[in-house]
Amino acid sequence: MKRFAGWLLAAPATALVVLCLLVPVAATIATTFGEAKGVFSPYIAFFGSGFRRNVLWRTLEISLATTAISVVVGFLTAYVVVRSPGRIKSILIIAAVFPLLTGVVVRSFAWLILLGKNGIINDFLTWVGIIAEPLSMLYTQGAVIVAMVYLFVPLMILTLVGVLENIPDDVVQASASLGATPAATFRQVIFPLAVPGLIVGAVLVFTGSFTSYATPQLLGGERQMMMGTLMYQRAMVSFDWVGASTVAAIMVVVTVAVVLVMARVARRLNPMAT
């Protein structure tokens, strides 16, 4: 009876996920193995094309750079936020939540204004006299990375503030009472305890960057095509649906693999979960 009631209540949501997410995504992946030219022909085509290989490589590169920078910047900032006095702390948290709740398009667009030929950065550099001609910063790998870091640092800060606040005060005090200097406490106690949370945040940033569309579209353009923009181009410009599905399948595989592997690593490093 109880078992039945539980199933009944969970059924509508479960059905939606299975029928409208699992089945369609599985179907998309399945089409890539149904080509007449051979089971793996779409993948052979993908990895055979220097251009598409480059896109995959670039996407990995940008995502890893974004993740690495976001982790370092986010961790140091979160550490300062957690140690700020009450009022300042809430202002800092609000200042991180605000960009997070503002859409990807708006936030990427902001960098379009900043990095453009007539943008504030070029204006400023010309005014100071460092450069004579405006630099073209848009549609470079750097522009995409900066905007992505901008996108994900608030997420990292908030995740890590949560993690750092969960480290009990008395554990930190115990470390001090045993003679550990603040630097030693940071290195030997706070950092190791934050690592599992750091991994969770890093996975969110990596998968988010790896599958992003709006930011590379606005700031990278054709020149800095990434997996997301490549997929759109394959599907809606070239009408190569099998090609687009292949890109989709690679994205799913990379995302799921990263999540599973890192979840295992995080669990192993998490001393609380035994």
Binding site: K2, R83, L158, T211
Partner: protein, 262 residues
């Protein structure tokens, strides 16, 4: 009474915050500019670009579509998500452990892949109209918020309270509505807000599901930016930021902002 934070770290964090907030301030400045191209600082102030928003038909209609979509998707996700969250907490032992993983899938699968797959299977494959497909997509991406945030509330709810009500003669459905729901109110509000804001800002899922006649605001903005480079988009962005401010004010009032770091 913690030992002082190093001044270098504080300076670094200050720079990070300038980096976080600065670009949004610049968008605001650009929106108030009176020139026809995007520039900062503005040469003169004007509200003409806000007026222009209403002249661009695409913004007007997609604004309405996005709100309808966000509202419907959120309502639908809560309608099926709350019972699921309840089942996962109340009947945890009776249900298999993989069931809760099902509701993580929409986060695990890249949104852009979901959008593309829905286009292939539902719009093209089953011949469904655009709006219902969009609604399915948005309901799916906000469902994890409904299930997880409400679950977190239910996890701290003492189910013996519900049993007490039933023992006093209250029928189960009425008990849920009068006893359980009021106690998880803050979780439901939080889920609603997060879901709504996620839907209204979504690009990746909607990308493949918009077509002639029906589009969402973020997609319309993307399309506009690719053709024109005037401050109208900055004005629309400011309107969206005002929406964010409103949402944060509601969150602050009802839950306190600290819940966002949990």
């Amino acid at each position: 009474m913690k030992p002082r934070t190093s001044p270098f770290l504080i300076a670094f964090a200050a720079l990070v915050y300038i980096f976080l907030v600065g670009p949004l301030v610049i968008v605001l400045g650009a929106a108030l500019s009176d020139t026809t191209y995007l520039t900062f600082p503005p040469h003169g102030l004007s509200l003409r670009w806000f007026e222009k928003i209403f002249e661009v038909g695409a913004f007007r209609t997609t604004f309405v579509t996005s709100f309808q979509l966000a509202f419907l998707a959120t309502a639908l996700a809560l309608l099926i998500g709350i019972p699921a969250a309840y089942a996962l907490n109340r009947y945890r032992i009776a249900l298999p452990s993989w069931l809760s993983t099902v509701f993580v899938l929409p986060i695990l699968v890249p949104e852009i892949v979901l959008g593309f797959s829905l286009l292939k299977s539902v719009t093209v494959g089953a011949g469904a109209p655009i709006f219902p497909t969009l609604l399915i997509g948005h309901t799916l991406i906000v469902l994890p918020y409904a299930v997880r945030v409400v679950s977190a509330s239910l996890a701290s709810f003492d189910f013996s309270v519900e049993e007490a009500a039933i023992s006093l003669g209250s029928p189960p459905v009425k008990t849920f509505l009068t006893i359980v729901l009021p106690n998880i109110r803050s979780g439901v509000i939080a889920a609603f807000i997060l879901a709504f804001i996620t839907s209204i800002n979504d690009v990746s899922t909607s990308l493949f599901l918009t077509g002639p006649g029906i589009s969402t605001l973020p997609i319309a903005i993307l399309a506009y930016v690719e053709q024109y480079f005037d401050p109208t988009v900055a004005s629309v962005s400011v309107l969206l930021m005002l929406l964010t401010v409103a949402v944060m004010a509601i969150v602050e009032r009802t839950l306190g902002l600290t819940f966002l770091t949990k």
